[in-house]
């Protein structure tokens, strides 16, 4: 077996992972993806960029005359760099929990749906109504009609990293 820890191997493995992820969204099998899927691809490779971060990356990836598509030849080096430099590192469960606690100003241990909606659709990089509805459908406890964020966070983290 070859030396698995050589830099080359790591780079090759990384690139193959990128290729796999890219192919999933390459519907016409011609090594291009819709630019609107770039965010999804980058995130599915384990990165947590913000919308602003994505905006910058996409600007880099687009052609001089934007076609609406991103080619693999451009995507690969950019993405390899992102992964090897470990940019946009994961948000840990603890950190996430703390963020919810910040929003829970009255320290109730839970959040009302309206509260969370207000924050997430008005602050930061606002959610669309669709995003908000989808999150609420997963987050709101059906009996108590509140968001028990501690449970929510652990459940989502478990599901995500299974």
């Amino acid at each position: 077996m070859a030396d698995k820890y050589s830099a080359d191997t790591i780079i090759t493995e990384t690139q193959k992972r990128i290729s796999n992820a890219f192919d999933v969204f390459d519907h016409e099998s011609n090594k291009t993806v819709d630019v609107r899927e770039i965010g999804t691809i980058i995130r599915s490779l384990g990165c947590f960029p913000s919308e602003a971060d994505l905006h910058d990356i996409i600007a880099e990836l687009e052609e001089e005359e934007p076609t609406g598509f991103v080619r693999y030849e451009k995507f690969l080096p950019t993405m390899t760099k992102i992964l090897l430099e470990r940019k946009f590192r994961p948000i840990t469960e603890d950190l996430l929990l703390q963020a919810f606690e910040v929003l829970d100003q009255q320290k109730k241990g839970h959040l009302e749906p309206e509260e969370l909606t207000k924050y997430l659709t008005q602050e930061g990089e606002p959610f669309t109504q669709e995003e908000m509805d989808e999150m609420l459908s997963a987050a709101v406890d059906p009996d108590k009609n509140v968001i028990l964020y501690k449970d929510f966070v652990s459940m989502m983290t478990f599901d995500d990293t299974r």
Partner: protein, 739 residues
Amino acid sequence: MGCGTSIAIENQTRPSETDGSIKHPSPALTMKAAILIQRWYRRYVAHLEMRRRYTWNIFQSIEYAGEQDQLQLSSFFSFMLDNVTQMNGNGPDLISHLLDSVVDPLTEEVRQLKYEQIVVSESYSGPRLSFPLSVTDTNALLSAFKEEQTLHGKYVLQLLYETKKFLKQMPNVIYLSTSYAKEITICGDLHGSLDDLLLIFYKNGLPSAENPYIFNGDFVDRGKKSTEIIIILFAFLLLYPDHMHLNRGNHEDHIMNLRYGFTKEVMQKYKTHGREILQLLQDVFSLLPLATVIDNKVLIVHGGISDKTDLDFLSTVERHKVKSALRLPKRSTDHLNVRSCSRSSSRHSRRSRMDSPCSSGRSSRASRRRKKHSTKQGSCSSSSSSSSSSSSVCSPRVSSRNTPRRPPPSPSLPSPTDVLQVPFLDSFVSLEPPEPPREELEWQQVVDILWSDPKNQNGCSLNSFRGGGCYFGPDVTQALLQKHDLCLLIRSHECKQEGYELCHNGQVITIFSASNYYEEGSNRGAYIKLGPELVPRFFQYQVSRSTRKLTLHQRVRVAEGSALRALKEKLYAQRSELMAAFQQYDIDNTGRISTSEWAQVVESVLRLDLPWRTLRPRLARLSADGNVEYGSCFEDISPGEPIPPVTPNLAETLYRYRTDLEIIFNIIDKDHSGQISIEEFRQTWKLFTSHLGVAVNDQTIDDMARSIDFNKDGSIDFNEFLEAFRVVHKLDVKEQQQG
């Protein structure tokens, strides 16, 4: 930005409430918290989307790979033909039964009388139809089926008989107009999903003079309520002949039904009359019209078109002669008198006769090639929720999966350079191969309509996956539409996540009406409404089995689970090959190889074009040193109850070819009794294994046959036999036990 911000938050959110009073975090902090949650959630959703996509890829890959299974079956048919002399006794009978149409000994009148005379017992509480049908009858049918009742065989026979009479007077291509109605509704594949049909009727209203419908084929197979669907569709057809239209799909084909479940469904629901119902259905299916044209502008066919499609020619085709796309027209070579010639030329004659999709006398070469390339694909899972779908005609080549769209060089008609060598007196005379007879051209037209798929690149190439029909590009569409002064092609045949999809610059619409086709939550169904302005409106829906609406991630999880189960079964079906290949990389026998090596092996053995590295965490475990423990791919699955003489290897082979064996047994079992004789079993099994190049010794077969003859009466219940080769997913069992 990333790292810096998170550290800042960490510092600032150190709890400092000492006096219990409410602390208002600064707006900046609130904003940062919000961004963090948003970033995290969007990442989570992206991951979900990825899982959803590869789940879809898995289902589709397995579907297409399953089509290559069918390749072996159909080349097995030709192999059997070639070796007909080896099958003593059963030989000609078996073959002819496979390939020739069933001859109906009764005349029409006698048949009709016979049905009328069937007595329906008093205890039958289902609908009793009276012909000609009325709205009362269709309403009764709908209510009955909602209550899970079954229509009595007598009425099914009568309904089919009337439908056959009706369809006989229909042309191949039906021309409709929107001028009399507000809008025409066009539905795609239903595949036995009664829930979807009822949902469509609920949302869109029942068929009537004011509410005309077109159903674009594939009413049956895969779903469990195919019988109910065709009963309803045919009943409305008879009730509203001018406002209800059915196009034939590739599954309206009795050989397809043998594989994809409709035959079994009929035989299970109709123990007395099932056989006759199936015979009638053969005729009815072949009499279904092939195409519908609206306002001389919109063409509707089930599959698609090819560069040879011609609506005028299509109108003249004798459509009822194409009983099944898998039954090739026999090329008439009588005038050449080739049969009596030496072996080599008789091989030629068979080649020209069979040279459409089925591999022509090349089975031995094909089987050798298969052995070499280890292209044996596992049969699809037979678990009830998951799919085995894939529909295909025979496909002669196992093309490389890595470049799926590469067309193989297999002609459906012999190339002009093929020349027949025919002995004449003492020498050989070269003859041009005969022009394809009309029958073959007609067959080609029909198969193209029923089996083709659109593709993005220009051109028209043979559809190697399905084994019949073509991939047609935008240029082919454009040419056909121009030729007949049409503006739109509506077709079905392919499952789409949103229930519909446009391509070829909006000139082709795919409409698919079976929601949750692969699995609960996998896709929506849709229908089109088309008014006089000929602008399509799309309506989507999704049948939901659970009363509580599943969240996105629950739906993804369910579908993903199902896809992964199917994938693991594929791995299991090729276990020995995989292990052998893994071990080649593992010289020191550590049980571990690198991710790269693992992915390479799996891809080359399974030949499924999937993102293996992305899937690896779901399929195999990593060891502490970051390598893949390759044995862990198989841990999840265990075989069912073992049959003593069957060794693990044989069990694996039987498991892999379950579906094929099921079809073969179904064919041999002419009276659909579920039983075949031990002798038939032995012969078939022997032939099948020798065709595959798998060595099984006679003694083992005998022992096996004897041990599965449970009541020792010389016949085998092959359903029981096949049941023994189901596999059990251990995790499922555990969940059930805990749940």
